[in-house]
Amino acid sequence: MNIPDTSAKGSLKSRNHQLSDSFLQLKVLNGGDTDKVRFPEFSERMKQAGLWPLKPVALEIFQMNLGKMCNQTCRHCHVDAGPDRKEIMSRQTMDRCLEILATHPVSTVDLTGGAPEMNPHFRWLVEQLSGLGKKIIVRCNLTIILANKKYHDLPDFFARHGVEVVSSLPFYQASRTDSQRGKGVFETSIKALQLLNQAGYGQEHSGLTLNLVYNPAGAFLPAAQPSLEAEFKHQLSNQYGIVFNRLYTITNMPISRFLDYLLESGNYEAYMQKLVTAFNPIAAKGVMCRNTLSIGWDGYLYDCDFNQMLQLGVESTAPQHINEFNPEFLLLRSIVLNQHCYGCTAGAGSSCGGETA
C-alpha cells in the first residue's frame, strides 16, 4: 500500500494556510462559508438536553499544554503542532502552576503538547509534580522516545516518577497508523511500546499504567471502546508481544488539520452531519470540560485543549490567566461552547479519557 509521507507537508502555520487562523476555522464551523451547510447550533442541542449553560462540576484535572513543538506532523492534529512550532511553556509559567498545585487539592496533572517531552523544562516539571504527590499523566507520542538519544531513557524516567503514559496508536496495522501520523511512525511506535513494556509499563502488578488512544484514521467515528480494546490487546499481544492497560477511543475534532483534511477530501459535511445526528445527551453530561482546566503554553486558561487551539478562552467573567487563578470564580463560569463540541458528544462520547457515556 502507498503510504503518504504526511510529515513532509508541515504545519498549517508553516504553510501560511488560511485555516491556521482559528477565527476562520470557527467561521467554517458556523456555516459562514455560503457554500457550506449550516448545522444546528450546539448550544441549542444542549438547551434541549437541559445542559445549558454548561457548568463545571469540579476541578479534578489540571491539563498543561507544554507547547506546540513536536517531532511529528500528524494529519489530524488539533494543535497544528510540528517541528517548526516554537511556542512552548516557560519555566516562569510552570512555576506559577506549581505554586497553585502546591495548595490546591486537584488530583491529576495532565501534560500534553505537541510533544511535551521536547520542552526543556519537562523533566524538572515532572520531578516537582512528583514531589507534590500529584497523579501525573503524560501524553507521549511514542516516537519521541526514539527520536534522539537524549530521550531514550524516558521510559525509566517515567517509571521512576510513577507517571501514567497515554499514547496514540490509531490502529494495530502500519498502513492506517502511518497514513495519519507519518511514514514509519507505526514501526517506531511498536519499538517504543516494547521499551515501555520492558520498563514495566502495562505489566500486571507493576503499578505503571500504559493507556493507548485510538483515533479514527479518516472521516469516521470510533467503534465501542470495549470491543476495540479487546481487538487491540489481541493483535498487539499476538503480533508484537505488547501489553497495555486501557484503550481510549477519541473522536477526531473537526478543527485545525483534521478540518483541513475534511474540507480537502470532501468529507466535511457528511462528517459534521454524522456528529450532529449522533448527539448523545448522556455523553454530553459527562464531557471532560466539566472537571478539567486547560492551561495554554502562555498561561492563558481554557475549558479544554480544543478550545485552547481555537483561542476560545474561558468565559470573560472568569480569571483569564494562570496569574489570576481563582478556583472559586472558575467553578462559577459557564463553559464556552461552539460547533466543534459535537465531536465530544457523538455516540458514546469522547474525551482525553475516552468514552463519556
Binding site: 469516521f220 470491543s227 452531519q273
Partner: protein, 111 residues
C-alpha cells in the same frame, strides 16, 4: 420524477419510511437495531456480513453504510474485500451449482 433512481442523500432519509406506515416502520427499526447489537457474533462480524450481503443484493445505500460501519467497527481493507469475495463466491457458486440441474436435464433428453 427524479432524474436518477438512486440519490445518496436518500440514505439519510431512510427513517422517513415511517411517514407512510409508522407501526410497521417502528417494528422494523427496533428489530434492525437489535440485530446489529453484539451477541453471539461481534458487531464487527455483523458489519462484515452486512457488507457481503449488500454486495449480493447490490444495494448502493447498504454498500456505503456498511463500508463505513465495517471500518468504524475496526475491520481492515483486506477483511472487507474478503467479505465481498465470499459474496461473489456464493453468487458464482449458486449459478454454477445449477449447472448440475442443466446436466441432469441434458442427460435425460439426449441419446
Amino acid at each position: 420524477m427524479q432524474d436518477t433512481y438512486y440519490n445518496p442523500d436518500d440514505l439519510n432519509k431512510f427513517g422517513a419510511i415511517k411517514d407512510f406506515q409508522p407501526d410497521l416502520a417502528k417494528k422494523f427499526f427496533d428489530w434492525y437495531g437489535d440485530v446489529f447489537k453484539a451477541g453471539a457474533l461481534t458487531q464487527r462480524e455483523k458489519a462484515l456480513i452486512a457488507l457481503a450481503v449488500a454486495h449480493a443484493v447490490q444495494c448502493p445505500y447498504c454498500i456505503d453504510a456498511y463500508t463505513v460501519d465495517s471500518i468504524e467497527k475496526g475491520a481492515d481493507e483486506a477483511q472487507m474485500m474478503e467479505a465481498v469475495h465470499v459474496s461473489a463466491a456464493i453468487r458464482g457458486g449458486a449459478t454454477l451449482v445449477h449447472g448440475v440441474q442443466m446436466m441432469n436435464k441434458a442427460k435425460e433428453i439426449l441419446m
